[in-house]
Symmetry: D2
Subunit: 183 residues, 4 copies
């Protein structure tokens, strides 16, 4: 069964990035995909330390890192969402991506053979450097990139706009179609 893993770059409670991912994962689940949402607020990762193996991190951080890495490995396709902080993806998201280095020696290193879709909140500015990460990690970049603003959400923080849902449906459809064709 195909699995879509969502990774949100916001640690804000009630985050629109996370709400957008929830909507995207629901669309995927309705098409029969398994889904997992990586909530960085809950995981509470330390800042990535290069050259360390998992067991060299402080004991209290190993559980979170190991859950993150297991979710990366289990993903057939991914959806990344980020707020715009100073014109780029959040440090929290980039920090989580940096742990991909722990997949460098997998038989399919990093995200090789998989596909990633991108969502940015507020402005499209972070999409360019997220795309650089996707290709450096050897994944395919889905063509539809989604930019959402506060107007796409209800006051309670649920994605409600028709155009937002339509674009999310399009990128999720691309990801599922990619995996079904190439697996």
């Amino acid at each position: 069964m195909l699995k879509l893993v969502g990774l949100s770059g916001s640690l804000r409670p009630g985050s629109h990035s996370t709400a957008a991912l929830r909507a995207g994962l629901r669309i995927a689940a309705e098409s029969g995909a398994a889904t997992e949402l990586l909530d960085l607020r809950e995981l509470n990762l330390p800042v990535y330390l290069p050259d360390l193996a998992l067991e060299d991190y402080p004991a209290e951080a190993q559980g979170a890192i190991s859950r993150l890495v297991a979710a990366f490995r289990s993903a057939d396709v991914m959806l990344w969402a980020t707020p715009t902080y100073h014109g780029c993806m959040s440090g929290a998201l980039k920090n989580a991506i940096d742990y991909m280095q722990l997949l460098a020696r997998d038989s399919a290193p990093y995200l090789q053979g998989r596909a990633v879709g991108l969502v940015a909140l507020a402005t499209p500015a972070p999409l360019g450097n997220m795309a650089d990460c996707v290709t450096e990690l050897r994944a395919w970049l889905a063509p539809t990139r989604v930019t959402l603003t506060a107007n796409d959400f209800s006051p309670e923080g649920t994605l409600t706009s028709e155009s937002g849902n339509r674009r999310l449906t399009r990128v999720v459809t691309e990801l599922l179609g990619f995996h079904r064709a190439l697996r």
Copy 2:
């Protein structure tokens, strides 16, 4: 029969960008693909004028534009190569890409459903904005992006380095595999 169209951003005689494309097209042909190389020096396109239909361009330019657009439409997958001019792709390449607007009303607009691979000469700097164009044109971006330098070529301008050929083979293999899976 699958068709790979190469588009080179250099107008220099003996261009390394064009030589890299020739090598890439040869690799594709050996795998059974049809190929076409768009040589912008020979096409001699005028600067793109927005809002003009093909028949509104000067008569002497219509043949070149119409050949360019026909090649874009015939492509199942594309390979773009560019020199680095001031940290970006050449104006010549971006100008050729701007004519994609003439495919805006096709049933699969622009490059929808197709995939594009990227090659940069001298530095990887142009790859980011080429990737932006690929996704804006609704195409999939191949994960392997190739950067080549003068050292990868013989004095006569042929791509001779093993590592350069290996990376080109990888991106061409990605493109052909993409098309064979998704058509």
Copy 3:
């Protein structure tokens, strides 16, 4: 007397990019600067050919290229504006910038010691690769980058929005202040 040169990436009659530049140049003129607007539609440049000296271009193109290069040389500060074509600056603008190579052997090569401000129409997407060009040309990038949409203009195509004028005033003020401090 300080001189601001505007360079517009649109060849569309009634272009918003060009209208934004006209507004920026007026603001500079009111502060006592000399101004020049490079209208690429009128200049009608051929696609840049690397390795050619000015006198190697077709005779009918030499006047336009020579006017462009003279304006580049005369600029103390520049303002560049572009429409968004497929997520990047227009090919027309990048092509004009490519002629900066003819300033490579000046005593202050390219735009060394000068500053450039950026304006994008429709989306901020082109600003990143325009910024790459600015720094590759050895110029300082002004902090305020302006994005304008059709809503900022009257139906006749004049920049009328207060917020648009305020941001343009800010970038022009940065450019004039930069030059007055560093000359």
Copy 4:
């Protein structure tokens, strides 16, 4: 007295990014500037939490955040250096930059009126999104961007190459000149 603050994106002991900054700060000190190096390994920052004031962070993290923010505020000019992690600046560096939000209500918000120079290790790929951050923070981007590789350093990790030192000297000179002209 002019102050240059260096910010390194690497948490690796013996980091080349940090060594490059040390060299840059020494050059500045020899020209009479005060300098401070922000060592993110030593600071051990938590991941940035939006909407939190300093006093809402865990007590053990407040000292580090408050030292970081004080250094940002004290900087007349800054030099940022980063390793390349998956084609972008490190998450550690972006995370540190995200704390600039705590300067949003300063009388000169963020880095307004100041200038930043950029250094990337291994490849120039991170420079584009670092530049986006610089301008979003309202600072001027210094024209010389420095890319260094392992070959520029001694086995002990000191910057030894002549070309590397020359480029660092150039960017530091730009920063000091900028401040002396505009203060």
